[in-house]
Structures are given as structure tokens and as C-alpha cells.
Amino acid sequence: MRVELAELFAVIMFFISFYGLIVTRNIIKSVIFIIIMEAAAIMFFLSIGYRSGILAPIGPNLAEVESWAYIADPFPQALMITAIVIGLSVTTILLIMTITITREYKTTDWDTIKIRSLEK
């Protein structure tokens, strides 16, 4: 099994946030763990094809480079800019939902909200 170390970090981060989502009862922390999860996915995408000494794929003499092995893959980068923007939109929406829900239920605890939501 050959695994790139940066990728492994991303996977570990993914599961740290997963654990956080299971154990935390605080909505704000849940939102933060969702942000962390998104960052882990982005890190994983960017680690595709990484090797030490890699260069950014930018510059006028890109076409004259002999081997592209040490140029980073531009495609995941373009995808991840999209993913970051989407992630930010998602974060703001989650945040405003958190604010309204806290205002309505007077708490940030998932379990208490669940109990109060069942009341008439």
C-alpha cells in the first residue's frame, strides 16, 4: 500500500471532524467541524500528485518545462476554488440558521433543541 502522507493527514482530519460532529452538543462547534471537514476534502484534492519540491503551475515559460512531474496539477486547484466558494456560502447559511435557531429555542444544545422542538 503506497499512500501519500499529505493525503493521510487529510483523511485523519476528516475523521477528527467526524468524531467532533458525533460528540459535540454545541451547534457552533458542529458548524466549525463542518468547515473543517470541507477543508479536509480540499486538502485531499490538492494532495493528488504531490511530490516534494513541487511548483505552482503558473508562469510564461510553462510550456518549455521538460517534465511536468514537478508541476502541480491545475485541474483540482480550479475545482477546489469552486468548492471553497461553495463552502463559504454554506457556512454563512449555517451561521444564520444557527443564529435564528438560537434565538427561537434559547439554547445552542442539539439535545435540548430536539426536546423543545417536540413540544407544542
Partner: protein
């Protein structure tokens, strides 16, 4: 050409939002919907001559984003157009404000985009867009309860998106592309070891979006939300969930090497049984319908997975039955949700025991509801009977029994639901004497379509999927006899068990919290990874 199906609704949406047209906005919306329906019909006819491809943004097609319309996607686009047209006409008299039209049009664009997309990352983007729209729409009226429903729906969906991204990343690294069709050409060159993890991650995403057990908990909250306009609930249950079933069909083809149909067969059966048990326990009409959607999705998954069938791998009768049931379920569940919206507004309650005498108070709505119920329980001459007939044709004896049992559960839950039709109406003082004519027409239209697509079942299948099927008369009569037998059993069960069952009262309020849901996502993911990786090696 294909991009217009996506770009034009978006432009209309932003235009409607930008200019405060007030009352005239809905005329423009109606006009745009009519145009889109016509265009979708044209596309539907066009794809019978062959698939339509479009590469956006590149001379060299691989570099850009591919759109592709084949028969299946054209059918779904046609269904989308019809559904949104019906929803527009249904909401014509309501004053939801311009935000409503804005969201509806973008939702439509996102759904059509998903059906056209051949690019996995594009699907990710569109799924995110539709998740945001649904989250806003289900808390549209900003009731206290719906805030909780909305945040649960949204957060869980976003978490699953990250699973999807991980799966997509692994396939991209392996095949060097995110295009579905190029990928499926190349994926065969690799050992299945490479595909187990991405398959598990992507299928977890699919299972959550389709609300399979144990990832169902968001669905009743979202589909049964009290704050959503009725048209939104109808589209959610009738159409939105089908977009993921469509993706399931595609991904099962893509991951042919590792795809486990048996796993989804078992899961479909569990979901189907679980869904109707929960549906029987509910007393809220919208929640009955919502849990029933879970049950029907389980039924569709069962049918699509019988006899190892895939879409490209040649048709089996069961598979056609599953496909046709997707269409049928859209019709009758759409009709039921629309009528439930009308009734909940008129009676001022959503309790199934408090609504009485719909036939007398609102005969048109009552007739339409009755027709949709006949469709859903599979009464002879209605569309449900046709799709259920085809579903069981490849099933062995055991599976046949299971499907009859699931059908029985459906019957019991709708015997309970049909209580609202009879009796003496006890309307509140301010209930409307006459309902808006457009709403009545749309609800009736859905009911009549259930009947027509039953009578002309074979022709409709021929028309929609370009597949010629035959119905054996004696087999159909046998199924009819089974139906009447189970109807009798169902009424008896309802009378002597459901009405005063302590067990059902206990499970009625079973709820999963957010953290349990996240945990069940992980549990599902590990299960499918173990199934694919350890127990089920081809």
C-alpha cells in the same frame, strides 16, 4: 442547445427577483414554464433518434464540461418540466412573494442540470445548489419547528457532500478525468481494489439523499415540514428524491466492477418495510405521506436491484417496473401532497382523525385523492398495479412474498389515510366554500394521470422508455386477486390492530437527533465498505 435548459430558468429567476413585478411576475413564470415544457417535450422526442452530446467550453471536448441527454435523462427532464408547470399553476393564486419564484426557477435549473450532467464535479455543484434551495424552501414560512428541520436537513446534506468529494477525488486520481463516460471507458482497466473506497463513499452519499435506512431521518422533517408551501412538498417527494435515484442508476453502471446489487436489494427491502411501519404509526397526514415516500423509495430500490440488472446491462422486466414506478410514484405522491396541502389549509389541521368527509365537502379533491390512493396501493387499472406487476416478474418465490408483504403495508397505511374521505365534514367556520379552480384542476389532473397511465400502461412504457413490454392477462388477473385478498387483510389489520396498538403509539415519536444521524452515516459507510471490500469480492 442543452445549456439553454439550465441557463434560461436561471436568467428568468434572477430577472423575476431583480424587478419587482408583483402580480405580473406569475404570468411571466407561467409563460416560461410553458416554454420549458414544450422544449423538454421536444428534447424528449429528439433523444429517440439518439443521444445528444454537448461539450461546454472547449474545442477538445474532454477539457470542458460534458452535457449529455439520453432517453432516461430526457424522461426525467420531461417529468421535471411537467411537475414545475403543475406547481406553478397550483401556486398561481397564492402570494408567496418573488423569492418563491426565484427559488423555484433555480431549483428547476439545478434539477435539469443534474439530469443532463455527465461531469461528476458538476453534479457536486448542482447538488449543493439544490440543497441550499430546499433548505430555504422547507423553512419558508419561518415557523419555529421548521428551523430545526431546516438546519438538520442542510447540515447532514453538507456532511455527505464531503464524502462524495472524497470518492470523486479517488476516481479522479485513478482515471485522470471527472467525466462519467470517459471514466466508465477507463475504469475497466483497473482492478476492483482501486474502486472499493470511492464506491463506498459515493454510495453513502446516494443512500442518504435517497433516505435509505438508516439514513432516513431527515426526510420526514424535510418533506413533512409545515412551513413549506404544498407545491414544494409535492416536488420534494415526487421529483427531487428521484434525482438521486437517477444518479444511483448511473453510478451502478459506472461502478459495474464493484457494484453490489444484492446489498441494495436487501437495503431496499428493509427500507420499504421500515417506511410503511412508520407511516402506519403517524397521525399527521403530511408525515404519513413523507414516511410513505421512504417506503416507496425502498420498493424502487428493490425493483432496480432484482436479478443484478443495471440500466446499460440490458433490461429485465423488474428493472422496467422499477423505472416505471419512479414515474408513477411522482404522479400519485405529487397528487397526494398537493391535495393534502389544500385539505390542511381548509380544515386547519393535519391530523388524520380530525379531517373528515372530504368527499362531501370537496368532491373534486376527494375524487383526485381516491384516484391517487388507488394508484399507490396498486388497484387494478391504475398505474401502480402495472409497475408492481412488472416488478415481481423476475422475483423468486421468497422475494415475491416480500413484495406482496410490502404492498400489504402500503394498503394498511392508506386504509388509514382514506379515513379522511368518508364521514360527516366538520369544517371550521372560516373554511372556504369553494376552492380555487386552478388548484382543483391540478390535483384532479394528477389523479386522472394516475388512471390513464394505468389503463395505457404498456403504451406509456413504450412512450417513455422506448421499451416494448407485454402483459400476460392471466398473470395480471392473478395479481388482481392477490390485491383484493391483501386489501381484505389490510382492512382487517387496520380494524383490529392499528387502531389501538401500543407499539405503534410508542414508535410514533421516535426521532433521531443530529449526532445520531452523523453516527449512522459513519455506520453505513463502514458497513458498505466492509460489504464491498471483504464479503463481496467478485
Amino acid at each position: 442547445m442543452l445549456t439553454n435548459f439550465v441557463i434560461i430558468p436561471i436568467l428568468v429567476a434572477v430577472f423575476l427577483y431583480l424587478f419587482p413585478l408583483n402580480k405580473s411576475a406569475r404570468f411571466l413564470a407561467l409563460l416560461a414554464q410553458l416554454g420549458l415544457t414544450a422544449a423538454a417535450f421536444w428534447l424528449f422526442l429528439e433523444t429517440r433518434q439518439g443521444e445528444i452530446f454537448l461539450s461546454i467550453g472547449s474545442y477538445h471536448s474532454v477539457l470542458g464540461i460534458y452535457l449529455r441527454a439520453d432517453l432516461l435523462s430526457a424522461m426525467f427532464i420531461f417529468l421535471t418540466a411537467i411537475f414545475f408547470l403543475v406547481a406553478t399553476i397550483y401556486s398561481f393564486h397564492e402570494d408567496f412573494g418573488r423569492l418563491f419564484w426565484f427559488l423555484m426557477f433555480i431549483w428547476q435549473a439545478a434539477l435539469i442540470g443534474i439530469f443532463l450532467a455527465a461531469d461528476l464535479f458538476n453534479i457536486f455543484v448542482l447538488m449543493e445548489v439544490s440543497a441550499v434551495i430546499v433548505a430555504v424552501l422547507i423553512m419558508y414560512n419561518r415557523l419555529k419547528r421548521s428551523m430545526y428541520d431546516g438546519i438538520i436537513y442542510f447540515a447532514v446534506n453538507i456532511i455527505l457532500m464531503q464524502f462524495y468529494l472524497f470518492g470523486l477525488g479517488y476516481i479522479y486520481r485513478l482515471t485522470g478525468t471527472v467525466d462519467m463516460y470517459l471514466m466508465s471507458e477507463r475504469i475497466h482497466a483497473y482492478h476492483y481494489n482501486y474502486l472499493m473506497l470511492p464506491y463506498a463513499a459515493i454510495m453513502t452519499f446516494i443512500a442518504l439523499k435517497c433516505a435509505l435506512v438508516p439514513l432516513f431521518a431527515w426526510l420526514p422533517k424535510a418533506h413533512g415540514s409545515a412551513a413549506a408551501p404544498p407545491a414544494v412538498s409535492a416536488i420534494l417527494s415526487g421529483l427531487h428524491i428521484k434525482s438521486t435515484i437517477y444518479l444511483f442508476i448511473r453510478f451502478q453502471d459506472l461502478f459495474e466492477l464493484v457494484a453490489s446489487t444484492q446489498f441494495f436489494l436487501i437495503l431496499g427491502i428493509i427500507t420499504g418495510v421500515f417506511g410503511f411501519v412508520m407511516a402506519i404509526a403517524q397521525t399527521d397526514i403530511k408525515l404519513i405521506l413523507a414516511y410513505h415516500t421512504i417506503s416507496q423509495v425502498g420498493l424502487i430500490f428493490t425493483a432496480l436491484s432484482i436479478a443484478d440488472a443495471t440500466y446499460l446491462g440490458g433490461f429485465t422486466y423488474s428493472f422496467v417496473g422499477g423505472l416505471y414506478h419512479i414515474f408513477n410514484h411522482a404522479l400519485f405522491k405529487g397528487g397526494l401532497f398537493l391535495s393534502a396541502g389544500v385539505l390542511a389549509a381548509a380544515y386547519g389541521t393535519r391530523n388524520v382523525y380530525k379531517i373528515r368527509g372530504v368527499f362531501r365537502a370537496y368532491p373534486v379533491i376527494g375524487a383526485a385523492t381516491a384516484m391517487a390512493i388507488f394508484g399507490i396501493i396498486g388497484a387494478p387499472f391504475f398505474n401502480g398495479s402495472i409497475s408492481k406487476y412488472f416488478m415481481v416478474s423476475d422475483a423468486d418465490t421468497l422475494l415475491n412474498g416480500v413484495l406482496i408483504f410490502m404492498s400489504l403495508g402500503t394498503i394498511v397505511s392508506f386504509v388509514k389515510y382514506s379515513n379522511i374521505l368518508f364521514g360527516k365534514p366538520e369544517l371550521p367556520e372560516d373554511a372556504p366554500r369553494k376552492l380555487p379552480i386552478l388548484q382543483q384542476t391540478m390535483v384532479l389532473l394528477m389523479g386522472v394521470l394516475c388512471f390513464l397511465s394505468g389503463i395505457f400502461g404498456v403504451q406509456t412504457i413504450q412512450f417513455l422508455f422506448d421499451i416494448t413490454v407485454y402483459i400476460d392477462l392471466w398473470g395480471y388477473i392473478e395479481k388482481t386477486l392477490i390485491f383484493f385478498a391483501s386489501l381484505a387483510v389490510g382492512v382487517l389489520i387496520y380494524k383490529y390492530y392499528v387502531k389501538e396498538s401500543a407499539f405503534l403509539k410508542r414508535i410514533k415519536n421516535v426521532e433521531m437527533g443530529f449526532r445520531t444521524m452523523v453516527f449512522s452515516i459513519g455506520a453505513f459507510f463502514t458497513t458498505i465498505l466492509l460489504v464491498v471490500g471483504v464479503f463481496y469480492q467478485p
